[in-house]
C-alpha cells in the first residue's frame, strides 16, 4: 500500500521537473526502486494508473528498474546483501549497518514534449 505514497511523491517531482524544462506532456518515466523498499511493481503500476490522471503525466508510461540491496557492517566492514527481514552481518552477526544501495526510490529520467512541439 505504500506504493501509492511513493507514486504521489514521484508525480510531484515529475511535475516540478516538467515545469523547469517547459514540458507540457510527459510520455515516459523511468524510476529506479531499491530492493529494500519492498515495492511491488504491479502495485506501482496500479497506483500510477490512477494517480497520473489530471497530471502532466496523464499519458505517460512508467518503466521500473530494481536496484539490488547492499549493506556494510559498521563493526567489521563486511559488505553483504541483506534480506528484508534479516540484516545480520554474516561475519559478526551485528545489525548496525550502513546501507550502500537499494534503499532509494530514484527518478532516473522523464521524456516529454515541449509546448508547440509536435503541433507543427
Amino acid at each position: 500500500m505504500h506504493e501509492f505514497s511513493l507514486i504521489e511523491a514521484m508525480l510531484d517531482q515529475v511535475d516540478t521537473v516538467a515545469r523547469e524544462n517547459h514540458l507540457d506532456r510527459i510520455t515516459d518515466i523511468h524510476l529506479q526502486t531499491g530492493e529494500l523498499r519492498q515495492v511491488i511493481p504491479e502495485m506501482m503500476q496500479t497506483a500510477f494508473q490512477s494517480a497520473r490522471q489530471g497530471t502532466v503525466a496523464e499519458q505517460a508510461t512508467l518503466a521500473l528498474t530494481e536496484e539490488t540491496g547492499l549493506a556494510e557492517c559498521q563493526f567489521c566492514e563486511t559488505r553483504f546483501k541483506p534480506m528484508i527481514h534479516d540484516f545480520q552481518c554474516p561475519s559478526c552477526q551485528g545489525t548496525k549497518v550502513r546501507i550502500i544501495q537499494g534503499n532509494d526510490i530514484i527518478l532516473l529520467s522523464i521524456n516529454g514534449t515541449q509546448k508547440g512541439e509536435g503541433a507543427r
Binding site: 500500500m1 511513493l6 511523491a9 527518478l107 522523464i110
Partner: protein, 226 residues
C-alpha cells in the same frame, strides 16, 4: 525531449525534514515519531507519558489522523499544546505538515514534541519528519508474526515497545519468536515490554525518554520547578 533527473523522489520531503530537525535542535526540543498500526496504544501511551513527565517537563503533540480530532481531544488535557493534522486520504504524515504545525507550537516551552503518526506500519517509515527518534509500537494483540511481515519499521526504530503486556496470559504470543525476529533486524534499539494497565515497564520507558533528552540536548528540563 529526455531529461535525466537521477534524484530521490523523497528528496523534497527529506530537505524539509532536515529543516525541521534544525528547528528542534535550536529550541532544544526532542522530537519523537510514534509509528504503529491503528489501535496498538499510541494515544493511550501518550496520555500517560505526558502526565508522568509533568510538571518538570512539558510536552507538545502533533497528531496525524485520516479524520476526526478525537486523539487530539484526548491529549489536550495532558499536553501543553496539541495540534491535529487531518491527512484526508494520505496514510502518513509529511515533513511539510510538521513544519507548518511546528510554527504554531510553543517549542520554546516544550521539552518534548511527540508526533503521533497515522496508524500504519509501512508508509510512516518512509517519510522522515525531522524527528530525533523513531518509536515503534507493537501490541501483542496484533500477533507474533508482524515483525517479520513489516520489518522495516522495526529496523529503523530507536526503541521498540511491545504494548498491552497485561494481556499476555490471554493471548497466544510467542515472545521468543518476536525477540529473535527483532534481533535479526535491530540489536541497537531497546525492546521494552509495557502496559499502561498494569504499569509494567512504564518507569523504564519514562527513564529512557529522560536519558535521551539529556544525551541529545544536554539538559534535564527547560524549566525546573523551584
Amino acid at each position: 525531449m529526455k531529461v535525466n533527473v537521477v534524484k530521490s523522489v523523497l528528496k523534497a520531503n527529506d530537505l524539509i525534514a532536515e529543516n525541521n530537525r534544525d528547528l528542534f535542535r535550536q529550541y532544544r526540543t526532542v522530537a519523537l515519531n510514534l509509528i504503529s498500526s491503528p489501535g496498538s496504544g499510541k494515544t493511550t501511551l501518550l496520555e500517560r507519558t505526558i502526565s508522568a513527565l509533568k510538571p518538570a517537563q512539558q510536552s507538545v503533540v502533533i497528531v496525524g489522523d485520516l479524520e476526526t480530532s478525537r486523539d487530539a481531544d484526548r491529549l489536550q488535557p495532558h499536553a501543553y499544546e496539541v495540534t491535529q493534522i487531518n491527512t484526508g486520504l494520505s496514510c502518513h504524515l509529511y515533513a511539510n505538515q510538521i513544519a507548518q504545525s511546528a510554527r504554531d507550537l510553543p517549542l520554546d516551552q516544550a521539552d518534548y514534541l511527540f508526533i503521533e503518526n497515522v496508524g500504519n506500519m509501512v508508509c510512516p517509515g518512509e517519510f522522515d519528519l525531522g524527528e530525533n527518534l523513531k518509536v515503534a509500537l507493537l501490541s501483542i494483540c496484533e500477533g507474533d508474526d508482524k515483525v517479520a511481515k513489516y520489518p522495516t519499521i522495526f529496523r529503523v526504530a530507536d526503541i521498540i515497545l511491545l504494548t498491552k503486556m497485561d494481556l499476555i496470559d490471554v493471548i497466544d504470543f510467542d515472545m521468543d519468536r518476536v525477540q529473535s525476529d527483532i534481533r535479526k533486524l535491530n540489536q541497537e534499539a531497546p525492546l521494552m515490554k509495557i502496559s499502561v494497565k498494569s504499569c509494567t515497564g512504564f518507569d523504564e520507558w519514562i527513564q529512557w525518554l529522560q536519558d535521551k533528552r539529556e544525551s541529545s540536548v544536554g539538559v534535564k528540563a527547560k524549566f525546573v520547578e523551584t
